[in-house]
């Protein structure tokens, strides 16, 4: 019955790990034609489904068993929730008569995941199962997307029920607003016309809503520079002269200056995260702010908004475009150009040391793949360097745990991405710390013959934490050096994958080309300067125009 429901939802593939409570489900799966990716840890299944969903735009589906199987999903669910990724998670629960008795492999997973799911269900009887599944898919993939968990007691898997499935489009307490309020759109258009120093600040909502083309139209027709949040990278071409880079803690100087000096911020599909705004009181104090978002609760949550517009980004921007009258931004664009020329992002901050710069590795991946790869990252310095130095040009090409900041996300997400777009080159840029958090998925990659490349930015430490210790804790490096790291290249070989090692620029260039020439998973262990820091940087809770560029420290 469940597989039939998944087929009705056009699900082609599920991610999962079997166990006692889902034995009947896996038996049904076995007898169907549905594809299934067997991971090595349930966390890997959620991240892979998440990567698949981010690239394909379709909800990722996960199966896991009760108890530990379900609790192992938690980090992955929270990751997807924070980044609004559509997932449907189907967990087995102990049989109905055992619920509440602390029976073997029992965990109250709907209770545990309550704060990190968009919605969840514990199914009570077989009759309601089809409608629950239908609602789950509808809720997960509409409005502001998110993970929905369906917990099904084992005895229900074994029952036969009448299967009548209709795709849900009406739920009483759930009515997302898609069309922006017309009067508000008019106010926004007027503000754009009057503005002399506008900035577009766009995020993941643009990608999720498929509004990249509309956004580009808006920016180009009005001569408005664009800054993208981490989640938004790819929503606007990174090589367009109007692109300012990412704002915030590790944003470009230009993006931060522009936001702080703007007279109008057009925020679309973003949520003004603290990593972006820095000290809230001083954030963009001179600017009028238009905020377009599908989630009304995001509007005015952190920053006071002058023109709120609840709606689907694509529809709202489209409505704006129809009435648009460009303002005069010529002086402002000259100012932006001047900042861009004065404060470029470079990888030569400490060339004198002669050690391999992590930024170079990322720039080489960008150069050799032609910027045409799907890139996933883990969390930390390498993530920020990727965001800064890889030129994302298309939506759905960058996968990273932006909200939760989940180390170990990148590699399983890369597997999911590859399944969503098998013809694309997939590169996971990982940290030596992060990679070890889901290293077990190497077996999944090898077993599935995944043509996925991993570049480990290996500095032998938890680089971002070490950087903070250096800057804010007087170099007291408490437990940030990862003694005992394996030889990643040999480890790859032990798994039956290819392993390469690079510690100079030439070796990096050669290794990337070599990795791309091989079919199947390859790990490139890039031994980089362990003292390299991510700059520019804004200290936490400081105004975002108080920038440490890294030059003054040396």
């Amino acid at each position: 019955m469940i597989i039939a429901a998944l087929q009705r939802e056009q699900v082609e593939l599920v991610f999962g790990y079997p166990g006692g409570s889902v034995l009947p489900l896996y038996d049904e799966l076995y007898r169907s034609k549905m594809r299934h990716l067997l991971v090595r840890h349930e966390q890997g299944a959620v991240h892979a489904a998440d990567g698949y969903a981010r690239v394909s735009g379709k909800p990722g589906v996960v199966f896991a068993t009760s108890g530990p199987g379900a609790t192992n999903l938690v980090t992955g669910i929270a990751t997807a929730y924070m980044d609004s990724v559509p997932l449907v998670l189907i967990t087995g629960q102990v049989a109905t008569r055992f619920i509440g008795t602390d029976s073997f492999q029992e965990a109250d997973i709907t209770g545990i995941t309550l704060p990190i799911t968009k919605h969840s269900y514990l199914v009570n009887n077989i009759e309601e199962l089809p409608s629950v599944l239908s609602e789950a898919f509808y809720i997960a993939s509409t409005g502001r997307c998110g993970p929905v968990l369906v917990d099904i007691p084992k005895d229900l898997f074994e029952q036969e029920g009448r299967f009548s499935y209709s795709q849900k489009r009406e739920i009483p307490g759930y009515r997302p607003t898609y069309t922006g309020h017309s009067g508000q759109v008019n106010r926004a258009v007027k503000a754009i016309k009057q503005s002399r120093k506008p900035v577009i600040f766009a995020g993941g909502g643009v990608i999720r809503s498929g509004a990249a083309a509309e956004l580009q139209d808006l920016a180009c027709r009005c001569g408005i520079p664009v800054s993208l949040s981490l989640m938004g990278l790819g929503a606007f071409p990174g090589d367009n002269p109007l692109f300012l880079g990412m704002p915030g803690m590790h944003g470009t100087v230009t993006a931060n200056y522009a936001l702080m000096e703007a007279d109008l911020i057009i925020a679309v599909g973003v949520r003004f995260d603290d990593r972006v705004t820095g000290r809230l009181e001083s954030f963009a104090s001179g600017a009028k702010i238009i905020h377009v978002d599908i989630d009304p609760a995001e509007i005015g949550k952190n920053v006071t908004i002058d023109i709120p517009i609840v709606g689907d980004v694509k529809q709202v921007v489209d409505a704006m475009l129809k009435r648009l009258q460009p303002g005069d931004t010529a002086d402002w664009l000259r100012q932006i150009e001047d900042w861009q020329a004065r404060y470029p992002l470079t990888d030569d901050a400490k060339l004198t040391t002669g050690r391999l710069k992590p930024q170079f590795v990322i720039r080489e991946i960008n150069r050799i793949t032609g910027g045409d790869a799907l890139i996933s990252t883990d969390v930390g310095q390498h993530q920020m360097w990727t965001a800064q130095h890889y030129c994302f040009r298309e939506p759905r090409t960058f996968l990273s745990s932006g909200g939760l900041g989940t180390m170990g996300y990148g590699f399983p997400a890369a597997l999911g991405a590859k399944l969503a777009q098998p013809e694309k080159t997939v590169f996971c840029i990982a940290g030596d710390g992060s990679f070890q958090m889901n290293i077990q998925e190497m077996a999944t990659a090898v077993a599935g013959g995944f043509d996925v490349k991993v570049a480990i930015i290996n500095n032998g430490c938890l680089g971002m934490v070490r950087q903070w210790q250096e800057l804010f804790f007087e170099k007291r490096y408490a437990h940030t050096f990862l003694q005992g790291n394996p030889d990643f290249a040999r480890l790859a070989e032990a798994y039956g994958a290819a392993g390469l090692r690079a510690s100079t620029r030439d070796e990096v260039t050669a290794a990337i080309s070599q990795a791309l020439a091989v079919r199947g998973p390859v790990i490139i262990d890039c031994i980089v300067d362990p003292e390299e820091n991510v700059y520019p940087m804004v200290a936490p809770n400081r105004p975002i125009n108080e920038i440490i560029t890294g030059r003054e420290v040396k």
Binding site: T110, L114, G173, G300, V310
Partner: protein, 171 residues
């Protein structure tokens, strides 16, 4: 400022947990809460009193609206509404103080619902002010125990909560 929110929810298991969990995880404080069935047995009504400025309450309401099982949220403090709470007070009462207490109870239009040799239970209904006033008076005799239902509220006039306009942030 205190806000009284009327929340219509689907009468399903786990809904109270979702609502209560939302308050605690977003750092909002529930001052009191009352839950019961409505005319439609499929729908329950929660009345929640929350302390906070306009921005906080706006955010509480928006977050509540995001819960799938929540059908409608309205802020009854913004409009004329009848707000009531029931309180039971067990007060020390000897033979010589009993009539004094009785007099207070009458003044507040309360009821004596139980009497023993050295105690009485008083039932009183009203708004915050009234309940606080009688509590203060009865403290003089010694209050042994208090229990309150939490506030319930209805809009004045013929308008119902269901018709009380959609809560939209872009208006």
């Amino acid at each position: 400022m205190k806000h009284v929110l009327a929340i219509l929810v689907e009468n399903k298991s786990g809904v109270l947990t979702r609502v209560a969990g939302l308050f605690s995880r977003r750092g909002f404080n529930i001052e009191n809460i009352a839950v019961g069935e409505t005319v439609d047995p499929g729908i329950s009504r929660m009345t929640i009193t929350v302390e906070g400025d306009e921005t906080v309450v706006e955010q509480v309401m928006k977050q509540l609206n995001k819960l799938i099982n929540v059908l409608k949220v309205s802020n009854l403090s913004r409009e004329p509404a009848v707000i009531r709470e029931l309180m039971l007070i067990k007060v020390r009462a000897e033979a010589q103080t009993r009539s004094d207490i009785q007099q207070i109870v009458e003044t507040f239009r309360g009821k004596v619902v139980d009497v023993s040799l050295n105690s009485m239970i008083i039932e009183v209904t009203g708004n915050d002010e009234k309940l606080e006033a009688i509590k203060l008076l009865l403290q003089h005799f010694g209050i042994r125990e208090i229990v309150r239902t939490g506030k319930v509220a209805l809009l004045r006039g013929s308008k119902t909560t269901r018709e009380n306009g959609e809560i939209r942030s872009d208006k």
